[in-house]
């Protein structure tokens, strides 16, 4: 059973006019606020398609999905649809003459912590915190900030930066010019690839986990502590590799590459696998402060 709800403006013009005559000056260009609630069961799926504006998603303890939208003008409509345990939220342009600024809509969405998220946002920004379900985020210029998330996380940007703070689970992130900051991670699988951006990894090296960081140019920086244990492979075809880790020759690497600057070895017992690859960027393996 599908419930389609086209969200209408809740800017109460008449009431505002009676209470505060000055508000009659409020024009169609003013931002208005829309709020909707959807009752969901365990592991709901929430999709958000918002080309222009910020998307902020937070987990809460209720079995509801709450959507609060603030649209710049009435040139853009906000649609929400619940189908079973899935909630789809999207913005839709209603006038061909609208400028990109007219179409801007900011969302604040609260979801159960086990929700699965699918977010598309071209420009603006995406912020997600405390959501533990799987997540797919795609942007063009928008940056993506995740905090205290888990599950299978896939993030794809073109130019947007990506930051992941205290993320767990599996993380795959790609970009062309976005910078990546992966801080205090507890992920067992990380694959991060950006072309021009820098990559900072400052997280835990879990036993038997895999961490693959790759770029063309820019810097790859990995921070480690004395108690960490990893098997390292670091190669920069045209750039440099700087290392502060006291590595022992790895029994797993029998082949030495003929091209580029490469470094192989184990740190402590080599329990995690770390692969760092760059075309002409610099790779830094540094002690954590």
């Amino acid at each position: 059973m599908s419930t389609l709800a086209t969200l209408r403006s809740q800017c109460h013009w008449k009431a505002a006019g009676l209470l505060v005559p000055g508000l009659l000056l409020c024009s169609a260009a003013s931002a208005d606020r829309i709020e909707r609630h959807f009752k969901v069961e365990a592991h709901p799926v929430v999709t958000i398609h918002n080309p222009n504006g910020t998307v902020t998603v937070r987990a809460w303890t209720k079995s509801d999905v709450m959507v609060i939208a603030r649209r710049a003008t009435t040139e853009v409509e906000v649609d929400a649809e619940q189908t079973g345990n899935r909630v789809d939220v999207q913005t839709r342009q209603v006038a061909d003459t609208a400028s990109p600024d007219d179409l801007r809509t900011d969302f604040e969405i609260s979801v159960p912590e086990d929700a699965e998220l699918q977010i598309h946002n071209d420009s603006g920004g995406v912020n997600v915190s405390n959501v533990l379900g799987d997540m797919n985020v795609e942007t063009i210029a928008a940056g993506v900030d995740l905090e205290d998330t888990a599950g299978y996380l896939t993030v794809k940007t073109v130019g947007g930066a990506f930051q992941c703070l205290r993320c767990a689970g599996r993380l795959e992130v790609t970009s062309i010019s976005g910078n990546f900051k992966l801080v205090d991670l507890r992920s067992y699988y990380v694959r991060a690839q950006t072309s021009e951006g820098n990559i900072l990894f400052n997280g835990s090296f879990l036993p038997n986990a895999t961490y693959v960081l790759k770029n063309y140019s820019g810097a790859i920086e990995v921070r480690f502590s004395p108690g960490d244990s990893f098997d390292l492979s670091a190669t920069s075809l045209k750039g440099k590799v700087h290392n502060e880790a006291n590595l022992t020759p790895s029994s797993h690497h029998h082949f030495i590459p003929r091209f580029g600057n490469a470094l192989f070895g184990s740190y402590n017992s080599g329990r995690a696998r770390v692969e760092l690859n760059s075309f002409d960027g610099t790779i830094n393996i540094l002690k954590r402060n």
Binding site: L103, I140, S195, T235, F259
Partner: protein, 214 residues
């Protein structure tokens, strides 16, 4: 496989749980593959002939024996263009365009990858140039379509896509130079492959946004 292992390697495998696990996996794959080869008959010869003929038509492989006969066939550049045009005309969807370009990239690189030490460098470079030349032409056509489709889209998004397209084009040029300088460098080829893949993906996104009017 066991016969290929040196005593040192055998000793290492006995002591190293990582490598032992890897070897066990490979042995399991070998056994399954062997079982399949026993159970299943080879496909009919006409399947291979048909596949080979298709790949030759696409210019992805070359049959030296029939090189002369090939001269009367459609040219290397004409055939893929016809195939691409047919697909795009029938199903003009950006996702399909991206998927096709990715498949073309993968096929081009897989078929021109050197085989161990027996690589003939000049033939390999020639093969690479043939495949990437076709690929570059396809990407240029896709780029023209994608850029024109973006007219009227959000300028911030359009600018970002154009800036990043320039970045990828720059990396393609750098990687191609690197492959020319070190033709046997697998790393350089992998980076070139990635750069082409990124460009195809980016063009698909540009087309999609243009088609959707965003």
């Amino acid at each position: 496989m066991e016969g290929d292992r040196t005593p040192d390697a055998r000793a290492h495998v006995r002591e190293c749980p990582h490598c032992r696990s890897l070897v066990e996996d490979m042995d399991a794959v070998r056994l399954v593959a062997h079982a399949w080869s026993v159970e299943e008959a080879d496909p009919p010869a006409r399947v291979w002939l048909s596949l080979r003929a298709q790949l030759e038509r696409e210019g992805l492989i070359r049959d030296e024996v029939s090189e002369e006969a090939h001269a009367s066939a459609p040219s290397r550049t004409e055939a893929p263009r016809g195939w691409l045009a047919g697909i795009f005309a029938a199903v003009p969807r950006p996702a399909l365009a991206g998927a096709y370009l990715l498949a073309l990239i993968a096929g081009s690189f897989a078929l021109t990858r050197p085989s161990a030490k027996q690589v003939n460098e000049s033939r390999w470079i020639s093969g690479t140039q043939d495949s990437t030349g076709t690929l570059s032409a396809q990407l240029q056509t896709a780029e023209r379509d994608s850029v024109s489709a973006m007219a009227g889209s959000d300028p911030v998004v359009t600018a970002s896509l154009h800036d990043n397209l320039a970045i990828v084009d720059n990396y393609i040029a750098l990687c191609e130079k690197s492959v020319r300088e070190d033709p046997e460098s697998e790393i350089a080829r992998d980076y070139l492959y990635d750069a082409y893949e990124q460009k195809a993906d980016l063009l698909a996104q540009m087309t999609e946004r243009g088609v959707n009017g965003r």
